[in-house]
Amino acid sequence: MPHGIPDAQVSDIRRLLHDVNDELSIAALQLEMMLEADSVGAQSRDSLEESLEACRKAAGALRQVWIILGPRAPS
């Protein structure tokens, strides 16, 4: 338990992290699909790209949290 979180809570945290990542993935994929469409104007495109970048950064931060939590205990 190098992170100081009680083991009993770690699996709940993992589940929540997965849920957050799933939501982020849906948002990112949706944004990517919108960006692929030719009909997006320049201003909207900038906003979409910024949003996508924010999703990617958030996903990167999540990966860091997973690393801190360490590998899942064998079931």
């Binding site: 990542n21 990112a28 699909m33 692929e36 996903a59 899942r72």
Partner: protein, 296 residues
């Protein structure tokens, strides 16, 4: 217009993810089945023998993706062409080991990029198609004969390469000049036959890899005692020059080929197969011969 047969099954308990991934693949004319649970997915697989690729999330609250894919492998062992693609949120040793055990063709990390999804699925579809073709060729008496011929060709080539490697390493006296020429000529003919047979069975669309064409040409040149310039080698790949030059660099970086200066003309450079390249080609041919014999 008739809709294409769905050859991909996407499994995810999140309906929005299913819808989006279907849309991404649909935009590349890849039709999909979707399932929200392992039970639904297995039912679809039982009813749809056309499915070639199963793309499944690993971590689902109600379904263990790894267990589900393991069941797919066991229950559909008679469909060895089935390609499994794993989707995961977290890169871990656990995922990598699971992917290897399941002989997964790839795994994708969330958030998935549409480009990676399309490429990965397309690659898996191509692999499945080539396995199906080899199996149907093996089931057909004509195809079976063709496979046996290729296996014989591969075996003979591997044997020629073994002799060449032994001669190079001085473990055996070089063959008499006339005999060596005969062997080289036979090798060249065998190699051409192998390439023709490979194209007829797999089709150019399945393996349009210029690196393979150039490796084969390097092997032929090495066995025939010829030198190949970069330009000749690039032309032999039947690919655009820029692509061929990139692939030559890949072969060199990978240690399979090396540049050799021409002692007679410092401005010219040859490309040769390295000892490592020769050994790998020999392994490949021996393996290919075994696989072809086993499947026929």
């Amino acid at each position: 217009m008739e809709s294409p047969v769905a050859r991909v099954l996407i499994v995810d308990d999140e309906v929005r993810a299913l819808r989006l991934m279907s849309r991404v693949l649909g935009s590349s004319a890849i039709a999909c089945h979707t399932a929200e649970s392992a039970a639904d997915a297995l039912a679809i697989l039982r009813q749809a023998p056309d499915i070639d690729v199963v793309l499944s999330d690993i971590y689902m609250p109600t379904t263990d993706g790894i267990e589900f894919l393991g069941t797919v492998r066991r229950e559909f062992a008679d469909r060895p062409w089935l390609q499994l693609l794993l989707v995961t949120g977290q890169a871990s040793l656990e995922t990598a080991v699971a992917a290897m055990r399941l002989e997964a063709s790839d795994y994708l990390f969330k958030p998935i990029e549409p480009k990676s999804l399309r490429e990965s699925v397309q690659h898996a579809l191509t692999r499945a198609e080539s396995i199906r073709k080899v199996r149907s060729a093996a089931a057909d008496p004509t195809g079976s004969r063709e496979l046996l011929q290729i296996a014989d060709t591969a075996k003979a080539l591997a044997e020629d390469m073994r002799r060449t490697i032994e001669q190079d390493s001085g473990r055996r006296e070089p063959a008499a000049s006339g005999r060596a020429e005969d062997t080289n000529l036979r090798t060249l003919k065998l190699l051409q036959k192998l390439q023709e047979a490979r194209s007829s069975i797999f089709g150019e669309a399945v393996m349009p890899e210029p690196a393979w064409e150039m490796l084969a040409e390097l092997m032929r040149a090495r066995l025939a005692g010829q030198h190949l310039s970069v330009t000749s080698l690039a032309l032999s790949s039947k690919s655009p020059m820029t692509t061929a030059l990139r692939r030559i660099e890949d072969l060199i970086q990978g240690g399979l080929a090396a540049r050799m200066p021409d002692p007679g003309d410092r401005r010219r450079t040859y490309v040769e197969l390295t000892a490592e390249g020769m050994a790998r080609m020999q392994l490949f041919l021996e393996g290919f011969a075994r696989t072809a014999l086993a499947s026929s």
